[in-house]
């Protein structure tokens, strides 16, 4: 949601005019909404796309779903985990003790109810999920491609293990020695297909300890998104995606060193950290 989303990669996907994507993930926000605002998504299997109680609905995502441009195939967190586990373990399906009786069961003909050969009880099974590509932003990688995620990895480890291709950006590429000093990798290199160094590559989401969530920029994003899809393209996508030929140009447009310094000020004190999240009046 507001943390470690692979935003530089997503902006690059949009600039390269990739479209027709099926997106799948657990709880997301600006990453998926930005792709939807650029008309890059044709189906969504997310469990949540929104901005929590702070900014509410993801406008681009909602518009895409309601217009029929995006086919809605909503998933739930644990169903997704079980589907990834089936893929990781090379199994044809995975049982799950929930979902039956809810409308997700009706919406997903691929979910089947079978009888346990042991207890005889009914149990739902879900098919394996093997994404073509996983995109991840981590704090560190070494030159061999080992990735180190600091803080909650959420579903990233499972996605890295289950996907055919893993694309990763990192704040910093270091030596393997240095990576070990930092605490070691949590995604081994052989899962990882490509890495690129992209400092502030998760902006405007956070990548601690480097920088906090940019609530101010997110507010600007939301006000453009709220106005409608044409306004969003003119007021946000043009300035921060299409016209940025490189990640460096994006960093310049969001305020360069001043913005980086503002967002890394969270370390100074609790008050400084809180200051970043005060509502502008």
């Amino acid at each position: 949601m507001s943390s470690r989303e692979p935003m530089a990669l997503i902006r690059s996907i949009i600039r390269n005019r990739v479209n027709g994507l099926t997106v799948v993930g657990s709880a997301h926000g600006i990453d998926i909404d930005l792709l939807c605002g650029a008309n890059a998504v044709s189906a969504s299997q997310e469990s949540y796309v929104g901005f929590e109680q702070d900014f509410g609905m993801a406008h681009n995502y909602r518009r895409g779903c309601e217009s029929g441009e995006i086919e809605i195939q909503d998933n739930c967190c644990y169903t997704l985990v079980q589907q990834l586990r089936a893929s990781i373990q090379g199994l044809p399906f995975m049982p799950i003790q929930s979902v039956r009786g809810t409308d997700f069961e009706k919406d997903h003909p691929s979910y089947k109810t079978i009888q346990s050969p042991y207890s005889g009880e009914d149990i739902l099974v879900v098919p394996p999920l093997t994404p073509d590509v996983a995109i991840i932003h981590a704090q560190y990688a070494d030159l061999h491609g080992n990735l180190r995620i600091e803080g909650p990895p959420v579903v990233d480890l499972l996605f890295a293990q289950a996907s055919r291709t893993v694309l990763a950006t990192v704040e910093k590429i270091v030596t393997n020695e240095e990576l070990k000093r930092l605490g070691g990798a949590n995604i081994p290199y052989f899962y990882v297909s490509y890495i690129a160094e992209a400092p502030m590559g998760a902006h405007p989401t956070a990548c601690y300890p480097f920088y906090a969530y940019d609530r101010e920029h997110t507010e600007l994003y939301m006000s453009a998104a709220k106005e409608g899809s044409t306004a969003f393209k003119k007021k946000y996508l043009k300035d921060f995606v299409y016209e940025c030929e490189s990640h460096e140009e994006y960093l310049h447009r969001i305020g360069g060193e001043d913005t980086r310094a503002r967002l890394s000020s969270w370390k100074e004190s609790t008050d400084a950290w809180m200051e970043l999240y005060k509502e502008s009046t």
């Binding site: 109680q53 909503d74 979902v99 969530y213």
Partner: protein, 277 residues
Amino acid sequence: MGKNCTLGELLIDQLARTVEDDTLVFHGFGSPLVQIALHVAKRVYTPNLVLVAGATYGVNPDPPFIAPTTNDWVHDRNSECHLSIGELFDLSASGRLGRMFLSGLQIDRWGNTNVTQLGRKTLKLKLPGGGGACNLSCNAKNITLWTAAHRSEPVKGKRRYRIVSQCDYVTGFGHKNADGITRRQLGYRGNGPQCLVTDLGVFDFDQDGHLQLNALYPHTTVDDVLENTEFEPRMKKEVKTVSLPSLEVLSIIRKLDPLRIHEKELLPGDRSLTLEA
């Protein structure tokens, strides 16, 4: 004995009182009222609670303040250890999650919740989605439902009820769905929703699994509840009035949430509402 408080603080206290001690409890994201309630519960009512934070999966964190987004590192401060996402959901699937808190843009008479879409046959509004609500609704041992938007003022003469007769879409399973299928028939481990805390009062579910008014607040009436609910909820024989939170609870809330993040969950007109002791 109570002290003047806001509606948000009263809701936090009511949510905190639904937790049992010596259980593992999880809060999801986008729910600062619940997040703060669990910190209140752990410090005041249920010290042996295992508090698992939503989105970061930290165990027993002690954050210096509440931030506007749930997966901010500030909420992970001073966690004593961490779970993985799979581990948390495994605990629930095997019946070891003591209580979960769920909400919805629609909550119906049987405790089903909808955070997926408005409009049954044709989509009227795509909602953000339920995260893990669907899974947890089935097998968390106990469930507290809540909403801070029970009050539904008419817009152009029409109300969009939050507490509805039947959800347009069942994201989280309550006691039975529109087809009459019950959780017992489905063999679920969880007991389903036991209570619903709203901005108008506190409800429980009767033997049939139907919503029933249990208690009001000092400023709300049975008529408020009837007017703002799409169907007629059943009434407990004796509808009580809850007491306001203690000074200890209030000071914990105010210290933990100086940015008043939890008020974002309330209806705009309710944010400055003060209840006098």
